[in-house]
Symmetry: C2
């Protein structure tokens, strides 16, 4: 087999691998996660279900691949914020970006931060999940810089970062899972949940604002 043909075939194989991924991503975000079957993905790319297993050993491996994509997307959201020089302003913008990311891509958000399966897959692979760590590193660094200009003076940087992340994550998951909506509707406080979320976020920001010495 001459070199050109080998390359073409290799390219085709990688194309197909990507096709599976994009088909999966589309179905996941459309139908939701549990509702997407290997058979449905196979049908979308017009191959047999068994073929998918030649490119991904598991359904989890597919999820894991999307995982990496998702994190790259999130981190790219954050990287725009480097233009904001004031670290506290940057921290506030990060929070808003985080919420925005979760609201715009609820299924991907769940994939990254709620589902256990891809995480277990990562645990066996060691190698990656670097993307995920980088996102947290950005938060850690920003909190550190905030401390540099007088915020959060006597608080542990790591603990505070976890606490902030938890608040963001809690807001996003309560919104996505529908539990926030349920409590809100029961109270008829606020029908527009996006306003409720941003209201709660602004209130949280207000509490952080007061932590300047």
């Amino acid at each position: 087999m001459d070199m050109g043909v080998a390359e073409r075939k290799e390219r085709h194989k990688e194309d197909l691998k990507k096709d599976i991924l994009t088909a999966a991503k589309e179905l996941f975000t459309q139908k939701g996660f549990e509702a997407t079957s290997i058979r449905a993905i196979a049908e979308k790319i017009e191959y047999s279900p068994a073929t998918i297993y030649l490119y991904y050993k598991d359904k989890n491996e597919i999820v894991h691949a999307l995982h990496q994509d998702g994190f790259r997307l999130l981190v790219s959201h954050f990287e725009v914020l480097n233009t904001v020089t004031n670290p506290f302003e940057r921290l506030k913008a990060m929070g808003r970006s985080y919420i925005q990311f979760a609201m715009q891509n609820p299924d991907i958000y769940q994939l990254l931060f709620v589902m256990k399966e891809p995480l277990e897959h990562v645990a066996n692979c060691f190698e990656d999940w670097h993307e995920g760590d980088r996102a947290f590193d950005i938060l850690l660094k920003t909190v550190g810089e905030c401390q540099g200009i007088g915020y959060f003076k006597d608080l542990d940087r790591t603990m505070l970062s976890f606490s902030i992340w938890s608040t963001m994550h809690g807001m996003c998951t309560l919104r996505i899972s529908g539990h926030l909506g349920h409590v809100a509707i029961a109270r008829a406080n606020q029908v527009d949940l996006d306003h409720l979320i941003s209201g709660a976020y602004e209130t949280y920001v207000a509490t952080l604002e007061k932590l300047k010495s």
Copy 2:
């Protein structure tokens, strides 16, 4: 059929309905949620799978029934705290209770606050979910009382309550889902995740503490 026999049969039916529930609860907390099948529940109570559908129309209806139990358990955790007179101390204790509840009953916690299915079932039923609202009402009331003694003066009570709930929920879910562990291990900061959680919580409490005018 005389009255005594009718009662006995009725009693037996309700017993069986409860037996299904306790079997389901046991399996859920043991094997996890997704891993528990109707067939497994049926085998545990030594009945046919089809019998379960005579007592519960859905798997979701079973989940929903456990839902109510779970909320009662959570609220009972909170009711002990009525002995704490200082509202801010009570709020702090509530947070700790909430975390403790989630750590001791991770599957029930997920059932109450993460899973969508039982929530959708509630949406069709209207009637209940009162238990869930009561839990949030307790938080709302406590935050209000804190404002009465000078805390959170210029903050919206409802928004702050949502924010606090989000923080608690975020900590618990990140812990339960394993995502907290993953980031922590990658940093080798803290192997004991329970210490990490309580550390993050204490840091959060410290931020709230400073919001007294």
